[in-house]
C-alpha cells in the first residue's frame, strides 16, 4: 500500500517524532547550552583555570561581581574551572565514545554477517575482554605510559566498545536474513561492500540509541578515574577531579563539591533523556497509522 510506514524511519520523520518528546528536546537544549558555555565563557572571563590567587582561597559563591560560583582551594575561579572540567569531560566522553562506536560497530557487523567460526572467535574475544577487571587495567596503563590525556581515550575506548559490539552483532545476524540482503547478494554484492553499504546503514538506529547510552557511561567512568586520581593531570581539571577535590573539603566548603557534581549529574541525565527520546522515535511498534489498513 502506498505510504505504509517502514520499519526504519528516515531522518525527517524521525526528527518530527523526536520533537514531540519534550524531555528529550529540553535535555538537548540544556546540553547544547552547557557545551557552548564551556567553549565560549572561559574566553570571555577575566579569570583562567590555572592561575592561583592565594588571597582568595575557597570563597563561597557570591552574586556581587567577581567569582559567581566562588573559588577553589587555590583561589581559582570555580565557574571557569567547572566549565573547563565540563569541556574536558565532554571531550573525553565524545571522543572515547566515537572510538568505541566505530570499533564496536565494525566488530559486531563483521562478526554478525560472517557468522560461523569467525563470529564465534570474534565474540569469544569480546567475552574475554569483558572479564578483564577494568580499574586495574587502567592503572597498569597509567603506570606504563604516565598520566596522559590520550591515555584516557584509549583506556576508556578499549573497554566500552564491547557492549556495542554485542548489540550490533545481534542486529547484523537478524539483518542478514532479510530479503533485501539476499537481493543484494544476487546483485553481486560481496562481504565488504555488503557490510559497508547494506548492513551498517541499517543498524544506525540501534547504534544511535546505544551511543547516547555509552556517552554518559564513558563520562562517568572518566569521572571515576579522575576521582581515583588516575585521570587528567593538574592543573587541568575534569568534572571527576573537581568532584574529588571537592569531596575532601565537603564539610567546610560544600560548594566545591556541589557545583561540579550537579553539572556532571545534569550532563548524564540529559544524555539519558535524549536516549529515551531517540528510542521512542525509532521504535517501529509505536505507530499510529497501523490501522489505516482496512
Amino acid at each position: 500500500m502506498p505510504g505504509s510506514t517502514p520499519e526504519y524511519v528516515l531522518n525527517s520523520a524521525l526528527w518530527q517524532r523526536l520533537r514531540c518528546h519534550r524531555g528529550a528536546m529540553i535535555a538537548a537544549g540544556v546540553l547544547l547550552l552547557l557545551a557552548l558555555s564551556s567553549l565560549i565563557v572561559p574566553a570571555l572571563s577575566p579569570y583562567d583555570y590555572y592561575t592561583p590567587q592565594l588571597d582568595l582561597i575557597s570563597q563561597p559563591p557570591t552574586l556581587r561581581g567577581g567569582h559567581l560560583l566562588g573559588t577553589d582551594p587555590l583561589g581559582r575561579d570555580l565557574l571557569i574551572r567547572v566549565l573547563w572540567g565540563c569541556r574536558i569531560s565532554l571531550l573525553i566522553g565524545l571522543a572515547a565514545s566515537c572510538i568505541s562506536i566505530v570499533v564496536g560497530v565494525l566488530w559486531g557487523a563483521i562478526a554478525g554477517y560472517a557468522g560461523g567460526t569467525t563470529d564465534a572467535l570474534m565474540m569469544r574475544m569480546v567475552d574475554v575482554l569483558y572479564s578483564v577487571p577494568f580499574v586495574p587495567f587502567v592503572i597498569v596503563l597509567t603506570v606504563l605510559f604516565g598520566r596522559e590525556l590520550w591515555l584516557m581515550f584509549v583506556a576508556i575506548g578499549a573497554v566500552s566498545w564491547l557492549d556495542i559490539a554485542r548489540i550490533v552483532r545481534g542486529e547484523a545476524l537478524s539483518l542478514k536474513r532479510r530479503e533485501f540482503i539476499e537481493a543484494a547478494r544476487v546483485s553481486g554484492v560481496r562481504a565488504a561492500r555488503m557490510i559497508r553499504r547494506h548492513i551498517v546503514p541499517n543498524l544506525l538506529g540501534v547504534v544511535i540509541i546505544y551511543a547516547t547510552l555509552t556517552i554518559p557511561t564513558v563520562i562517568l567512568f572518566e569521572a571515576f578515574m579522575s576521582f581515583l586520581g588516575l585521570g587528567v593531570r593538574v592543573p587541568l581539571a575534569s568534572l571527576g577531579s573537581l568532584i574529588a577535590d571537592g569531596a575532601s573539603d565537603m564539610q567546610a566548603h560544600p560548594h566545591l563539591l556541589l557545583v561540579p557534581a550537579t553539572v556532571l549529574a545534569t550532563i548524564v541525565y540529559c544524555f539519558n533523556f535524549i536516549g529515551d527520546g531517540l528510542r521512542d522515535a525509532l521504535d517501529p511498534h509505536d505507530r499510529h497509522d497501523r490501522h489505516e489498513q482496512a
Binding site: R178, E182, V186
Partner: protein, 326 residues
C-alpha cells in the same frame, strides 16, 4: 563443451535439505529430492506447487543462496554447484532473481537510483557515471516508472511499483536467465494483472529466459511455455503449457487444476466436491514410495513401495505408476 543448441539451464537430480528441530531433536528435512529439468534459451518454464513443495528452495538453490546436497545445475554447460569465489561472482551477472515481496527486497536505506545502479557498479565497473545513469533511467522507463522515482526510498512505493523496481534491477545487467520467485503473490488483483502484462511485454521485447515460480495457475498459463509441477519437493509432471492444462496426466496436476476458483458461478457450482482430501503431509515424514499417494484417489499398493520415475507419457513427462491408464 557447450553445443550451440543445448539448453541454457540443465538441472539434474538436485537435492536440497535443511536442518531443523523436531520434538527437541535435530533432524534434516528433504526440501528437494531428485529434481531434474531443462530450460531452453528464450523460453519460460513455470514451476508450480503449493506450500511445502520446495519451490522457493529451488529458487535459492539455483542462485546459490543456499547450499545444495547433491546433483548438478548446469548453466551453459558449467556446473554452478562446483563454482566458488571469483567464478561464482562472475556467473551472477548472468543469473538474476525477482523476489516475492517487492518492498522487502529493497534496501530501506538506499534510494532507488542507487539500488538500480549497484549491479552496474559491480559488474560493469568500467562504465562511466553518465552512461550508468542513462541505463538506469532507460530501465526505469522500460518497467513503467519515471525519473522522479530515482530519488525515492522503498517505503514510498506501493507493492506494484516496488515489484517494477525489482524487475528493473534484475534486468539491468542484461542477464541470461531470471528466476522469478512468486513475483505476483503479494500483489492486489488489479496490480497482479499489470505486472503480468509487464512481464509478458518484456518477454516479447527482450526474448527473456525465465524460471517462473508460482502457485497462481492462471498467471503460469499466461506466461509460461512449459510447466513443471512440484509436490513435496519431488517432480510430478513436466509438460508443454497446453499439454499440461488441457490434458494433465498426473492426478495431482488434475487436482490442482480442478481446485482453481472459476469466476463463473454456474460452472463453479457444477464442480462438486473438492478433488483432494486430507492435508499436505509433513516434510519431516513424507509418505514412502510416491509422496502423493496419501492424498491420491488412484493410489495402489505399488505406489507405497516404489518411487515412480519421471517418464514420458504422451507429450508429457510424468512421475506416476498409473499414468497410462488414467
Amino acid at each position: 563443451m557447450n553445443a550451440p543448441d543445448s539448453p541454457l539451464l540443465q538441472v539434474r537430480e538436485l537435492r536440497v535439505s535443511y536442518a531443523t528441530r523436531h520434538r527437541g531433536r535435530a533432524v534434516r528435512v528433504r526440501a528437494l529430492e531428485n529434481v531434474s529439468f531443462d530450460l531452453d534459451s528464450g523460453q519460460t518454464l513455470g514451476i508450480v506447487g503449493e506450500s511445502g513443495s520446495g519451490k522457493s528452495t529451488l529458487a535459492r538453490a539455483l542462485l546459490r543462496l543456499i547450499r545444495a546436497d547433491g546433483g548438478q545445475i548446469r548453466f551453459h554447460g558449467r556446473d554452478l554447484l562446483g563454482l566458488r569465489g571469483a567464478d561464482l561472482h562472475a556467473v551472477r551477472a548472468h543469473l538474476q532473481m525477482i523476489f516475492q515481496d517487492g518492498i522487502s527486497a529493497l534496501d530501506p536505506r538506499q534510494r532507488i537510483g542507487s539500488i538500480l545502479a549497484e549491479p552496474l557498479e559491480i559488474f560493469r565497473p568500467q562504465l562511466p557515471h553518465s552512461q550508468r545513469r542513462e541505463r538506469v533511467l532507460a530501465m526505469l522507463e522500460r518497467v513503467g516508472l519515471e525519473s522522479l522515482h530515482l530519488r525515492r526510498y522503498a517505503h514510498e512505493f506501493s507493492g506494484g511499483q516496488a515489484q517494477r523496481v525489482g524487475i528493473a534491477r534484475a534486468l539491468i545487467v542484461e542477464p541470461e536467465l531470471i528466476v522469478c520467485d512468486e513475483p505476483l503473490s503479494s500483489l492486489d488483483v488489479s496490480i497482479k494483472a499489470q505486472i503480468t502484462a509487464l512481464l509478458q511485454q518484456l518477454q516479447r521485447d527482450l526474448g527473456l529466459s525465465l524460471l517462473f515460480i508460482a502457485h497462481d495457475l492462471p498467471a503460469v498459463q499466461l506466461l509460461c511455455d512449459r510447466v513443471l509441477v512440484l509436490y513435496l519437493g519431488r517432480v510430478m509432471e513436466i509438460a508443454a503449457r497446453d499439454a499440461l492444462f488441457q490434458t494433465p496426466r498426473h492426478p495431482y496436476t488434475r487436482a490442482l487444476l480442478q481446485s482453481v476458483p472459476i469466476a463463473d458461478p454456474r460452472r463453479a457450482r457444477a464442480r462438486g466436491r473438492a478433488p483432494l482430501l486430507g492435508d499436505m503431509p509433513s516434510s519431516l515424514s513424507p509418505p514412502s514410495g510416491c509422496v502423493f499417494r496419501s492424498r491420491c484417489p488412484h493410489a495402489i499398493e505399488r505406489c507405497a513401495q516404489e518411487v515412480p520415475a519421471l517418464r514420458r507419457v504422451g507429450h508429457s513427462e510424468v512421475a506416476c505408476h498409473r499414468a497410462e491408464e488414467l
